[in-house]
């Protein structure tokens, strides 16, 4: 395998880990309460803006920007849950699409109105630069994003599968009434899911802001990537999102290198449609 191909695969994996992180929030909500959050991309966008604001206005570095972005988006998630999602989740599926899409428009243009349409970038001082290891060039910001993305997605997966809180959340997602009879408060668990999903999304946004232009409409592009990753990996499975994110990252970067940058999305979408055809529940979803 040539060195260039290794380089391409490595950058694909790093990108994929970030895809996995910002998709894990979406898959958590989808699996937990069967709601697809069409505003998810705009949650990521607001995470990016929170990081940029902390960084440029308050002078905090990534160690301040990441937790603050996580808190902001977790708060936004909980607020959306109590004010909107709690009420529409029992309605028809169309009402869910309508409600979360309206929320997306609201957030996108609120950002547009507040921050303006111009791109914002972070001052490239703290995690900038690149280094060479074993003949492969690494960019600092992407390595940080990739490694943290991987770590936090795994952490989320462990919380959901290995802790008592995770079991309670699973119980609510399987049968809210039965869970309530066991002394679990469904609304509290669902709000917690929104908080966790929001925190993961906020962190993802703060990490992406390191190497991506921050603009009010960036959420639209990111949302489509997240939808594909989540359906690919399987409904509600954080581990599935992780695997799917990595696969998509590598496939994108290899096909951009081998066929041309325009076709990288084409290859990913074709792969996605094939997966849906042969395994409608996704790679790791429950049937």
């Amino acid at each position: 395998m040539s060195m260039t191909l290794v380089q391409v695969v490595v950058s694909g994996l790093l990108l994929g880990a970030v895809y996995a992180l910002f998709s894990s929030g979406l898959t958590l909500i989808w699996g937990m309460m069967n709601v697809v959050n069409f505003a998810h991309g705009d949650f990521v966008m607001l995470g990016m803006y929170s990081a940029v604001m902390v960084w440029t206005a308050l002078g905090g570095g990534p160690f301040a920007a990441v937790p603050i972005a996580a808190m902001m988006i977790a708060t936004l998630g909980v607020a959306s849950y109590f004010l909107l999602v709690r009420h529409i989740m029992k309605g028809p599926m169309l009402a869910q699409i309508l409600g979360t899409f309206g929320l997306a428009l609201f957030l996108r243009y609120a950002a547009f109105w507040t921050f303006g349409a111009n791109f914002k970038t972070l001052p490239d001082t703290i995690v900038g630069g690149s280094f060479v290891l074993g003949g492969i060039r690494f960019e600092g910001s992407r390595v940080l994003a990739g490694v943290m993305g991987l770590a936090i997605t795994l952490l989320l997966h462990l919380i959901l599968t290995r802790t008592a809180i995770g079991s309670r959340m699973l119980a609510v997602s399987e049968d809210a009434t039965a869970a309530q009879l066991m002394g679990i408060r469904p609304q509290r668990m669902q709000a917690l899911a929104w908080a966790m999903a929001g925190a993961a999304t906020g962190i993802a946004g703060a990490l992406i802001a390191n190497f991506f232009y921050t603009s009010p409409t960036v959420g639209e592009t990111l949302a489509i990537v997240a939808f594909v990753t989540v359906s690919f990996g399987g409904f509600g499975s954080v581990l599935g999102a992780l695997v799917a994110g990595l696969i998509i990252g590598v496939v994108e970067s290899v096909s951009a290198y081998a066929i041309g940058p325009v076709y990288k999305d084409v290859v990913v979408y074709i792969l996605f449609v094939l997966v849906l055809w042969f395994r409608p529940q996704g790679l790791m979803g429950k049937a």
Partner: protein, 317 residues
């Protein structure tokens, strides 16, 4: 008697609208745009509303219609409207190709698959030089004959769109009260139950999808005739698909006049915000637009027309 008077008056008002607004090009244009959006959303309503298969990829058909019209003009020098039947035919074929695999998926999975296929078509469309690539293609700058449908005012478009909408709603009404309408509603309520009662659910979903695609394509062709230009974003963009869904859901999906009611509210709102965009208030009107959608989803999950149903129920009590 009173009801007939109401509908008669409404009909006269609709027919006379371009004459009443003859001195305002903006309002004439607005009327035509509302009707065009209503055609697209009503087309979506056949499969998304009645059959309950929430497609978020109807821009594929809209784009095929728009591109068919502009391609017959650019490459064969035909009037753009001649591309409409070609686009509709292609859309029916494309609907069959997409529908056979994706309609097997249920609920959110079908929606996600249609998003992916829609994006796939959009990306592919920007790589083809034959249809203008990412720059798109333009229609006739100067009309060569009356068939080019190049008019100074929007009033002729208003009447053309009105005729198409009436035809489409008539067809939908006819389907709604026929055998197929019952089948589609049965599939929407419970596909498994419908199958067990002998409804060939797969086939009827596909019929609805193909018919819906054909009319979404017609909406695309009509769009091109009025605007004379299309590029991958304005033809195949995901916002085109989402707008059809949102308009129908806002008015009431699966109801004959739902999409029209949605278009009557959203199109003026959007035009209003477009005309303010670029000023200091840029974006603020879209914030309001988003908030209105959220509030309706929160308090009227079945759409605005469900308000009328509630009144009917109360009267029956």
């Amino acid at each position: 008697m009173k009801r007939w008077l109401f509908w008669g008056a409404l009909g006269v008002l609709v027919l006379a609208y371009p004459l009443l607004t003859a001195d305002s090009a903006v309002y004439q244009r607005l009327g035509a745009l509302v009707l065009l959006a209503a055609i697209g959303a009503s087309a979506w309503n056949i499969v998304g509303g009645y059959a309950g298969q929430v497609s978020v990829g109807h821009a594929i058909f809209f784009g095929f219609g728009a591109y068919a019209s502009v391609v017959v003009y650019t490459h064969f020098e035909w009037p753009p409207i001649a591309g409409a039947p070609i686009g509709m035919l292609l859309s029916v074929l494309v609907a069959a190709v997409i529908g056979v695999p994706t309609l097997r998926l249920s609920g959110h999975y079908f929606s996600m698959a249609t998003i992916a296929v829609g994006e796939l078509v959009r990306v592919l469309s920007s790589t083809s030089d034959y249809i203008g690539g990412a720059q798109g293609l333009g229609g006739p700058a100067m009309p060569r004959s009356v068939f080019d449908l190049s008019f100074l005012s929007a009033a002729p478009f208003y009447y053309i769109f009105l005729a198409v909408l009436v035809l489409l709603l008539g067809l939908t009404w006819w389907i709604e009260r026929g055998r197929m309408g019952f089948y589609l509603r049965a599939i929407k309520d419970s596909e498994r139950a419908a199958r067990s009662l002998g409804v060939s659910a797969g086939r009827y979903k596909l019929y609805a999808y193909m018919l819906s695609g054909a009319f979404a394509s017609l909406a695309g062709s009509l769009y091109l005739c009025m605007f004379g230009f299309v590029d991958p974003e304005s033809g195949f963009g995901i916002l085109i698909s989402v707008k059809m869904v949102v308009m129908a859901a806002l008015g009431g999906a699966g109801q004959l006049f739902g999409p029209l009611v949605g278009a009557l509210i959203l199109v003026p709102l959007e035009e209003l915000s477009n005309s303010y965009l670029g000023g200091q208030g840029a974006g603020l009107t879209f914030v309001v637009y988003g908030a209105i959608i959220v509030i309706i989803a929160r308090f009227l999950p079945s759409g605005l027309l469900s308000l009328l149903d509630r009144r009917k129920v109360r009267r029956a009590d």
